[in-house]
């Protein structure tokens, strides 16, 4: 049943309903405070943007890796096509007069095998190329999780604002931070090896 389909009598009772909802909210607020849940909720809310950044970092890095692989595959395929073409040309040239010697027959055998190998290598390269679709598939999943995290963050922040206004205790440090996800976000991280080396140099290394 949709809300507009509810009887008018229910709409008339809404002030009581809202009053009751307010009481329940107050009880929930008091209970959360008594149980000491608010600091944990606050930490969770403050941790969500970091979690989103890390997921976005994973998506970006996997995308860059997939692009590198595709570029290498495209180069390899070009060289492989040239190699296959050269093998076919050489086979045609050798066939006429090379069969009279053992060395000539060995050369024909080798080039024949080479041409067959290029076909198999090309199929492997196609498989490698297709396998990079993981970036598209995992990227879509990551995007959905990031959206969910944003919604959860909004809800938690809303709850915190209502339940603990003015309480601005800082988040606890969660220890090691892992790879740099967004170097531009803060000056407390080294964006690349050059900055690391500069820092080391300032310590005399």
């Amino acid at each position: 049943m949709r809300i507009e389909e509810l009887p008018v009598a229910n709409a008339a009772a809404s002030p009581e309903v809202f009053q009751r909802l307010g009481e329940i909210t107050r009880q929930l607020h008091d209970t959360l405070n008594q149980l000491g849940v608010m600091p944990k909720l606050r930490n969770s809310a403050q941790g969500l943007p970091d979690a989103r950044s890390r997921l976005s970092y994973i998506a970006r890095k996997s995308g860059e890796a997939a692009d590198k692989v595709l570029t290498s595959v495209e180069h390899a395929k070009r060289e492989q096509t040239e190699l296959a073409s050269a093998a076919r040309s050489m086979l045609a040239a050798l066939s006429a007069d090379a069969r009279s010697s053992a060395a000539g027959l060995a050369a024909i055998d080798f080039v024949t095998q080479l041409e067959a190998s290029t076909g198999r290598i090309d199929a492997h390269l196609t498989d490698i190329m297709l396998a990079q679709d993981f970036h598209d598939l995992t990227g879509q999943v990551v995007a959905k999780v990031v959206t969910l995290a944003m919604d959860l963050e909004d809800s938690l922040v809303g709850l915190l604002v209502q339940a603990a206004p003015g309480d601005s205790a800082g988040a606890q440090d969660s220890g090691l931070r892992g790879p740099v996800i967004d170097a531009a976000a803060g000056s407390d991280v080294a964006a690349n090896q050059s900055e690391v080396d500069d820092l080391l140099a300032s310590f005399g290394f």
Binding site: D67, E74, M129, D133, D136
Partner: protein, 132 residues
């Protein structure tokens, strides 16, 4: 090289990696004339400006998704015969039915193989040739 190697393709996907993969596969199949679009809105304007023979489109895209793009293309009688092959991670049956009802020529679920794409493209082309 196949007889249809002169055909003009449009590959629509918001993931550049996927566009590269589909382009690479189409090239291996002998098709050299391939354009790319990153969403349905861009694809729709490209369809109106170019005479494409075949469109390969994702569904889940920003701005204009694959269904909206497909419906917009098929709403124009000029493009009723333009084959649009959906290549997507959306594997729900209702999506497949909706695609077919909207005028899709075929539907491939990711991840897919080169053989699957080749088979679908060939069958669609054969069907078009038979109908002509």
């Amino acid at each position: 090289m196949s007889a249809g190697s002169h055909m003009k393709f449009l590959v629509v996907d918001d993931f550049a990696t996927m566009r590269r993969i589909v382009r690479g596969l189409l090239k291996e199949m002998g098709y050299e004339n391939i354009d790319e679009a990153e969403d349905g809105a861009v694809a729709l304007s490209m369809v109106k400006l170019n005479n494409y023979d075949f469109v390969v489109s994702d569904i889940n895209m920003p701005n204009m998704n694959g269904f909206e793009f497909l419906k917009a293309v098929k709403a124009d009688p000029k493009y009723l015969k333009l084959p649009v092959l959906m290549v997507t991670a959306e594997a729900r049956k209702e999506d497949i039915v909706l695609a077919v009802q909207s005028g899709a020529a075929g539907y491939i679920v990711k991840p897919f193989t080169k053989a699957t794409l080749e088979d679908k493209v060939q069958k669609i082309m054969q069907k078009l040739a038979a109908a002509a």
